[in-house]
Point group: C2
Chain length 413, copies 2
């Protein structure tokens, strides 16, 4: 990129940061793992005295702690770093899905205390079944962790579908029989603990923000590919769900007028070209798979992948087109959100068409030329407990935001 034709001092950028300093300091410590006070001050551009005062308060409230770093202090003074106090809170995270339910308990620093996975038969669940499953998951993981329910500060509960997290409402989910269910309130009552709900893609985004490679990043996007295609966005260290809480439905942005039919009933949605069911649908047409009807999607996909590797042109063309549409979707994310980094996440990412060099090259060709390099794309194929970890991150977010909320009085200014 050419240097700008400079001829004078630059106006400082308008400040984008206006969260309370207490919250910024806590988040910096959380993201860093271990960090000296002086580094926090440097990173946030505030005085060491401010950091000392606020961190003393956070220590007194039991949220963070001092950690001696041996052999680093010099001249007899031990160097001291700050870290989140793991035992400050325990939370549970659980994810309900079509194939299995998963659950974890993590401490305040995000360390896994216990986890469990219960396979299930696919099928729609009504509210009573959902609450029963959540109760069973909670009992099992608490037994494994050797704790009582009441030792938990909060529960995060994830379901696929269309979720209004702020309202605690599931508008529609492929695993639930009913629409417009006040799941957070119902589960709070049923479990006797504060429950927060969100959808898949936001859970993965929170998992990256709290435990993953997004810890130190202020702005990034997450694109998930699996049964559907989802997206999460972090702005200024916080998840953004759209102006009214129901945005980021990248999978249902239209990339073709009157295009392929989507499971949402509309045409031309990005996920109708990229998601599992889209690939299986094409394979059924082109590979003479009528006899395979009824087999699980994952088996069919694996077979399609084998055909492509063996040189079958139709199979290759199916992956190739999915890769090109994925490039369109990623380029649209860059053109609109201009993130510093994009995480590509999901089980299916072992199908390498999704991050093949030509897919990424095609994405770059569809991004506006600003003179800057395109944002890096990082592939994250997490393990089974990813979603439950994300749900735990949702619970941790809620707990820490409650503890760090600004006192809205003059003294708080």
């Amino acid at each position: 990129m050419a240097e700008p034709a400079g001829c004078g001092p630059l106006i400082p950028p308008l400040s984008e940061t206006s969260r309370p300093l207490r919250q910024q300091i806590f988040e910096r410590v959380r993201a860093a793992g271990q960090i000296p006070r002086v580094q926090v001050a440097k990173d946030l551009g505030v005085s060491p005295a401010s950091v000392t005062t606020i961190t003393s308060d956070l220590i007194e409230r039991g949220l963070i702690r001092e950690i001696a770093r041996e052999g680093e202090g010099g001249r007899g003074r031990p160097a001291v770093a700050l870290g989140v106090r793991p035992e400050a809170h325990l939370v549970a995270g659980m994810k309900l899905s079509d194939r299995e339910h998963t659950v974890v308990v993590v401490d305040f620093a995000g360390n896994l205390v216990a986890g469990d996975l219960i396979p299930r038969r696919p099928g729609l669940l009504d509210l009573a079944e959902i609450l029963a499953a959540a109760g069973e998951l909670l009992d099992r993981v608490c037994a494994k962790a050797g704790i009582a329910r009441q030792d938990l500060s909060a529960v995060g509960l994830g379901v696929p579908g269309f979720v209004d997290s702020a309202a605690g409402e599931v508008l529609w989910s492929p695993v639930m029989r009913d629409r417009n269910v006040a799941l957070a309130a119902c589960a709070t009552q049923a479990l006797g603990l504060p429950v927060h709900v969100d959808n898949d893609a936001n859970l993965v985004t929170l998992a990256e923000l709290w435990f993953g490679a997004g810890r130190g990043l202020s702005d990034f996007a997450v694109v998930t590919i699996e049964h559907g295609l989802g997206m999460g966005l972090v702005i200024n260290h916080r998840i953004f769900r759209g102006g009214q809480g129901l945005g980021m439905e990248l999978g249902h942005t239209k990339v073709q007028l009157d295009g392929a039919l989507c499971r949402c009933g509309q045409r031309g949605c990005l996920e109708a070209y990229v998601a599992d069911y889209a690939l299986v649908r094409e394979a059924t047409t082109a590979l003479n798979w009528a006899h395979k009807s009824g087999q699980p999607e994952s088996v069919l996909l694996e077979s399609l992948y084998d055909h492509a590797k063996a040189g079958n042109q139709a199979a290759r063309s199916i992956f190739r087109r999915a890769g090109r549409y994925l490039a369109v979707g990623l380029a649209n994310v860059v053109n609109l959100f201009d993130p510093k980094l994009i995480f590509l996440s999901g089980e299916r990412l072992r199908y390498d068409y999704l991050y093949a060099a030509d897919t990424l090259a095609e994405m770059e060709a569809l991004i506006l030329t600003s003179g800057r390099p395109p944002p890096p794309i990082r592939i994250h194929a997490w393990g089974d407990l990813l979603w439950a970890h994300g749900a735990a991150a949702l619970a941790l977010s809620a707990v820490s935001e409650g503890l760090l909320a600004p006192v809205r009085e003059v003294a708080a200014q």
Copy 2:
């Protein structure tokens, strides 16, 4: 929409608001025009005592003032409202474009003090010409307003194209010869005043936020249609330009793989189906317009519109397709950003195909069904000085953010 199946108390939503209270109070007063203290306290959910303390400080610093509201107090006490103090600051806003340059001076409350418009011959400008034009605009509008340059607190400068507002850099503009120009710094030096730069769509968005129908709204989107197609986004009362400042390029999101050629050189961009040049290109093909080459785009568009009204099927088909693609673009904005409201802005909006009932119906059919009504679309065909007003809003934002910036010390917490 069906009522949620409620069965317990709702968890309060995670707080999305963390700007300093001082800034929130100032913005509330600015947005309201005139507002009693008690209403500010009610709107923001804070104690009247906090509002009184902070507004006293803002009055002392000359930013807001008390306004007596006669006949409203009752029992001998005159009712008092708060309003921004118009004379606190004067700023200028100017917009450079291919057809004309415009400039305004407004006071701190956004009232127009003076404005001017200089037509120009189209053609690329180099940096020296840009700075000379800005100087001339400033002198003319200051003379009209009866003020000296030094009476201005800041200048907002808008150009079409690809602008990094935070860095003050114009990466590319259709009116500028050079790429990667540090325009804010250069103009600051040339004009002797702090200059802030931004692109068209963000200026319109700021104009709506400061002076328009967006004043009271926390979250909305603006889509502009003219020579190109632009977008601006307001989140929590602030403009959002993307994670790295160069996002919101809705016009260059891809809505068709290998689709129509865009002036950016890529294929399938939304604006290649909707913007002026896209319509004129199709008209030239279908209406036998070879003889019209060289005529201004605006004249050609007007002629195309006349043909459509007169029943020409090709002309109608051109508008119809543009309307359908506009519906795709608006639906994608809703699916991703879930704004409370969308403003459609630009001169071309008098061509009613753009907001015809069937375009809006098509948009609704492409939005994910959440059970909620789609966001209202408001048409704003502003006058000539819109862009300059937006540039003035940019300057006002910079001035007020500088004045209201939180003191990043412990006392400020």
